[in-house]
């Protein structure tokens, strides 16, 4: 009995804060120089990596989901659209890769929103750092997720007969272009994450944006098979340009116009939604 009490007391003792040690720490601390924008952004990116480590469930959307997309659409439409699965996968894979990555970007908004609801956002906002760095950090972390999704999808594609004529270089260029676009596109979600009140509404709005944008594109079929009014939309959709550029790059071509359009859209998205995001971030 007595022994238990004593052990318990020493444990509590050990866990109690120590004022003298604390005092010494407070005194000895000299303030380091203000960190650079790059350091703080990368540090927030590191936080995103730690989140993946601690909450591995969130990896479903970059592993199981892309595999499902590839298999589902290849075998569903393959026979009907291109006559055979192996023929269709050559056309479909770069497109479905683009579509899936663009779809996965919407989780950025949910992540931003979840942080706001918890108190940690207040701390970040009260730090003397380059203001956009928490946002850039989210997006850098997400780029890693997009890369994982891309690797998974390309792996599955190769298994079921996808043979990119552009080789390793073409594939890497395609993925690189897709990453630039996904990073830029995600600023839409950081905006919604800050704008909307709940995680559910962020999800809802994201779905409404993402479905028409990704399906009304050249991912599944050649736009020339569509009615004129739809062609007008599809041919000018950023997703169409990105999908076309990725498809051509991976096939060994150099689609200068589509690359330019993709990068142009990326620049425009950052230029519009970046400042809106930061305004909302500062205004809250």
């Amino acid at each position: 009995m007595t022994t238990t009490t004593t052990t318990q007391e020493t444990e509590l003792e050990r866990e109690a804060p120590r004022a003298e040690e604390l005092a010494a720490l407070l005194l000895s601390a000299e303030r380091p120089a203000r960190p650079s924008a790059l350091t703080t952004s990368l540090t927030f990116g590191w936080r995103a990596m730690l989140k993946i480590k601690h909450v591995p469930e969130q990896m479903f959307d970059v592993t199981a989901f892309p595999i499902m997309m590839v298999l589902m659409y290849t075998y569903l439409f393959g026979g009907a659209i291109a006559g055979s699965v192996s023929a269709y996968v050559q056309f479909l894979l770069p497109g479905i890769l683009t579509m899936s990555v663009v779809m996965i970007t919407m989780y950025t908004g949910v992540a931003v929103n979840t942080d706001i609801v918890k108190g940690v956002f207040d701390r970040f906002r009260s730090l003397p750092i380059w203001r956009p760095s928490p946002m850039v950090g989210y997006l850098l972390g997400d780029v890693v997720r997009y890369l994982i999704a891309s690797a998974v999808m390309l792996g599955v594609g190769l298994l079921i007969g996808y043979r990119p004529a552009g080789g390793v270089a073409g594939v890497l260029l395609g993925v690189a272009l897709l990453m630039v676009f996904a990073f830029s596109f995600s600023w839409i979600w950081t905006m919604f994450g800050l704008l909307l009140r709940t995680e559910k509404s962020v999800m809802g709005v994201s779905m409404m944006v993402i479905f028409p944008l990704t399906f009304l594109s050249n991912v599944f079929v050649d736009p020339r098979t569509m009615p004129g009014w739809l062609q007008a939309f599809v041919n000018n959709s950023p997703v169409t340009h990105v999908a076309a550029a990725v498809r051509e790059l991976m096939a060994g071509g150099w689609p200068a116009a589509d690359i330019a359009w993709s990068l142009g859209w990326s620049a425009l998205l950052v230029a519009v939604f970046g400042p809106v995001t930061m305004r909302l971030y500062n205004r809250r």
Binding site: R14, A19, P35, V120, D122, R123, F124
Partner: protein, 321 residues
Amino acid sequence: MSTNLAIETTALVKVFGDNRAVDGVDLRVPAGTVYGLLGPNGAGKTTTVRMLATLLRPDGGEARVFGHDVLREADAVRSRVSLTGQYASVDEDLTGTENLVLLARLLGHSKPSARDRAAQLLEAFGLSRSAGKQVKAYSGGMRRRIDIAASILNTPDLLFLDEPTTGLDPRSRNQVWDIVRAVVAQGTTVLLTTQYLDEADHLASRIAVIDHGRVIAEGTKGELKASVGSGTVHLRLRDPARRQEAERVLAAALGAEVLLDADPVALTARVDGGDRGASEQAARALAELARSGITVDNFALGQPSLDEVFLALTDRKGGAA
């Protein structure tokens, strides 16, 4: 220039819809002290703190922290303050160590220095054994401590503590108080919001009482207590049946309202010292009770508690409105 002021606000206003959450708050917080913002839930304490920490934009008035305007010089303010919010402002998914290393890096520490600082603080806060656990597994008291540790990674000049002990058990509350005392002893100014009067009484040297977005009283603890009368007598009678009679006798002798406590033999009355002092007044009241044949078992004369001050102040305000 009032450079010895940590915080100076003039007619600070924040409106949410048609709710004037902060409605013209004037504060002057001297540097190097613990300043208490005392008030009930929804009084405007947190909103005031959030404006001072550059998290909310004021809708009117001015606020300066160490002479820097919170709107125009927000970055200068941010480099000198730290905030511990009402809810743990750390990432619950990360471990204690990861949280502190993350914030130390954001404050400009190199990787090795961030790791050292995190380990030292975890040790000093008695958290080293839970350093590798996710914060979501921490108890309420441990969360509070990691939160405060995160706020003093770089010793701030001004630390906002927003209801630091709400929901804590007495042991954890005392630990937080010890930490606050250690921090302020090193020269940091602390702005403490609390709804607990004894907390303000223990820690703060000056107190502003806030209600409905306005400061309704301000001063040192002594001044606040004196403002509602110089003392209070607490009496315990032997016979509960004589309490009503005793109430009449006391009211006549002291010329003040007598409160009947929940305890059936206890009475409390405010003593306004006047020229002759509280003790003489109280002695006279005791003599009157003796003459009426009422036996008093227990008698105490003391300063009113901050609870009494607070209730008196908010009552007065409520009556006027």
